[in-house]
Symmetry: C2
Subunit: 474 residues, 2 copies
């Protein structure tokens, strides 16, 4: 049993060690890439399942596009290539031969998907075209961090085409909202959804929306993005359609994505000194049952009771695991399952059976209580629901009360900004020189809010165009 | 409405055109790679879901390993590198720099997974270790064919480690059986499961099991394989464990896979002149409802009836689609949905509503009948079940009665072998020279059966070691 580094004073080390100690992932021999172990993958699979339902319910269909993209495709959209060329991996050799034209391993799939869209879109009747892909992508990362920033990562990328800019914009907002709700309802993570400033837009987008959440160490994490793309993509790939008036028009395109980074957010928003705390809605195991067998106890009687309660929970749709490993003490098991963040632990021993009750221990609050076996599935469902709400409320309260300051002049608050972090809401004139100043204190403009409470730019005293959120970020 | 090439005289063209016309897939700008379109992907997703359930039910856990593998890993097992080196794609350049050690894009993941297994396996307590990965892989194909052989394809690859050879062998057979049952019960495809001859083994395997099925053109298709690997892999990756006696031992390894090739099998086993015929258990849409609205009919009344029956089928768990597109005639829709192989078509017009009935048309038999709206969900469930059984029985009968010959001397039957194809069961001495002769008539030994009905080798008259199945193959 290794002890995790202190979460308050050494958050970064705590995070890194926890990722590996909890068996979410392991180091790989491939630079910047993780092996996602079964426990981490089980969380990602649940995320995929829930997100996929939402993506389909909003009228999108999944498809699969090639991993390798002709290098020339990347160069068709000027901003896009500037953004991605420095970080692509290139296949120059295949089938025993040097290739005439190299392929890039997709860093994102706009180019190849737009090439196909151009084949499929002929008339306004073919629009909207709403496609999603679950895929792996590769971006050569200079500063990898498990889940948060890895050379290879897993994601869904939505790509859609619409008749009008308004419809495309609606799509961008619709999927942004789906993401925000998914993270709130399943991951218990509150977030701020808003526009990115122009200099933080996706390469080739005319508008990028982001949703940002706040980690316990006061650093922001971009959870996902949704883009309204420039029509230069449609032009570059010769994607035209005949509109309802019979004129030739270029469709309006969107793209949007979330990634395995969400697993990182889950760890950094809810984890504690003992390890992971996984919200019940997204926990691979919602309940772990540990039989407590002491000397002279009837082992078979206890294991039979364990089996009964397991069956009743399973029957009620609860994801439940029994840890009956006899080579480990109950104490070791408590430690391991707390480290792995299983929401509820059930302990069953002789005395519990005699009272027709079991002990339940709440991973989040640490609260321990005895509950009657009668209606235990219902009691546990209620407990899980309460825990899910509690985790969300806790994260929301922290965000609003501790991690969000309104400040007139950020440079007067640099100590607070550096030490405590969080979102600093303030005014901004939109000038690049002020962004550079903010960078000096390691801050970035995470997003531009719709409101304007500050009249002046936080840096230069010029007129503020809108409130922005500034934070240090991952 | 394009007509498909003749399925009898021009099977290969029929197949290729059908793949694209039915919108299962599209050509891509990447050599040998497909774009799998939503309809094709929906079939693959259903396959994945059902297979994943079986893989988990047999005690395996999913994980994700890196796409890129250090090139040196491939060279650690001598046979393995010989088999795969000629067809790998190599990343030599990444992040704006020439790489010191190139990465290969995985053609299969034994090497990287065994590297990780060596980290995870220390004691007999860590065994068996049973991992599965859903992934894309790349093998540079010289003769690509949609779904059947593509440069990039999608698959699951199982990788397991066991204490003893017997346990590993049991695993190999267990997963082979899972595959065979899945293909029988969901794809309605019968297959022969048996050993590969030594010269057809997976590079690095001591035993490869295959399950082979027979396409309508008399050519065999290898549906999937399950391998008992040589312990040289464990040695190469220094994968050791302490056994129950405290001795150091090397685990026994297996790997097994099926791929998007199964979509190709589905087309080639069940398709007909009108297009795809998709078995109900794996059909993205099991039923399509087409409203038949004639002049002077009450459109709203018909659409209301359509909606009612759709809801009742949906409620009964049937995957149902309404095609109410008013820009297309019913005839066009019949053609399109027959091309796409939807098992049952429902037609609803004024006269049907008056009789409180609907017309159903069976895609496989072409049979058309009127059924009462009362209990229609149950009637349709029964019809779908009957169609599933019918398709399997039809394929089984064809295999046994038409596509399987027992012959003493294959060289006496070369005309039949060339023209009609099918499995030719005969005797084989195990000598390579006889394999070479069989190759002359474009035959390969698909598998070695457990029985021995032939005393002599079909080529050289020496003693036969076992019956084999010879066929032309994809």
């Amino acid at each position: 049993m290794t002890k995790l580094p202190d979460i308050t004073s050494n958050f970064s080390e705590w995070y890194n060690e926890l990722v590996y100690a909890s068996e979410l992932a392991d180091h790989s021999p491939v630079r910047g890439s993780l092996v996602i172990r079964p426990y981490g993958n089980a969380i990602w699979e649940l995320m995929q399942k829930r997100l996929d339902e939402r993506i389909k319910a909003t009228g999108h269909q999944n498809a699969l596009f090639p991993l390798l993209i002709p290098q020339s495709f990347l160069y068709k959209e000027a901003e896009h290539v500037q953004g991605f060329a420095p970080e692509v991996a290139v296949v120059t050799y295949a089938g025993g031969k040097e290739l005439e034209e190299p392929y890039i391993v997709r860093p994102t799939s706009e180019t190849i998907i737009h090439h196909m869209f151009a084949r499929w879109i002929k008339s306004w009747r073919d629009l909207p075209l709403k496609i999603n892909q679950w895929a792996n992508v590769v971006r050569w990362e200079m500063r990898p961090r498990p889940f948060v920033r890895t050379t290879e990562f897993f994601w869904q990328e939505g790509h859609t085409a619409h008749e009008t800019q308004e419809q495309a914009h609606e799509e961008v907002i619709c999927m942004l909202n789906e993401y925000v709700e998914f993270c709130r309802d399943y991951l218990a993570i509150p977030s701020v959804a808003a526009r990115k400033p122009a200099h933080e837009r996706f390469p080739g987008a005319v508008e990028t929306y982001t949703f940002e959440s706040m980690m316990q160490d006061g650093k922001a994490l971009q959870m996902g993005t949704s883009h309204l793309l420039s029509q230069t993509f449609a032009h570059a790939f010769d994607m035209k359609f005949q509109d309802t008036q019979g004129n030739v028009a270029y469709p309006w395109l969107t793209s949007w994505a979330v990634t395995t980074r969400l697993v990182g957010a889950l760890i950094m928003v809810h984890g504690d000194q003992k390890g992971l705390v996984i919200p019940p809605m997204i926990a691979p195991y919602q309940v772990v049952i540990i039989p407590i067998i002491k000397k002279n106890d009837s082992e078979s009687r206890i294991l039979a009771a364990v089996e009964r309660i397991k069956e009743s929970l399973h029957h009620a749709g609860i994801r439940v695991l029994v840890d009956a490993d006899q080579t480990k003490t109950p104490g070791t098991k408590f430690y391991e399952w707390e480290l792995k963040g299983v929401p509820l632990r059930i302990e069953i021993g002789e005395r519990d059976i005699e009272k027709d009750s079991v002990i339940i221990v709440n991973r989040s609050t640490g609260e321990k209580k005895s509950i009657s076996c009668e209606n235990s599935a219902q009691t546990i469902q209620d407990e899980l629901r309460a825990m899910q709400n509690h985790l969300l409320r806790k994260a929301e309260d922290r965000l609003v009360q501790e991690q969000w300051q309104k400040v007139e002049k950020i440079m007067k608050e640099t100590v607070l900004f550096e030490e405590k972090g969080g979102f600093f809401q303030t005014g901004w004139c939109t000038n690049a020189s002020c962004v550079a100043m903010i960078k000096e204190i390691k801050g970035t403009i995470r997003c531009v809010l719709d409101e304007r409470t500050f009249e002046q730019c936080t840096i230069c005293d010029q007129k503020s165009e809108a409130d922005v959120l500034i934070a240090k970020a991952y």
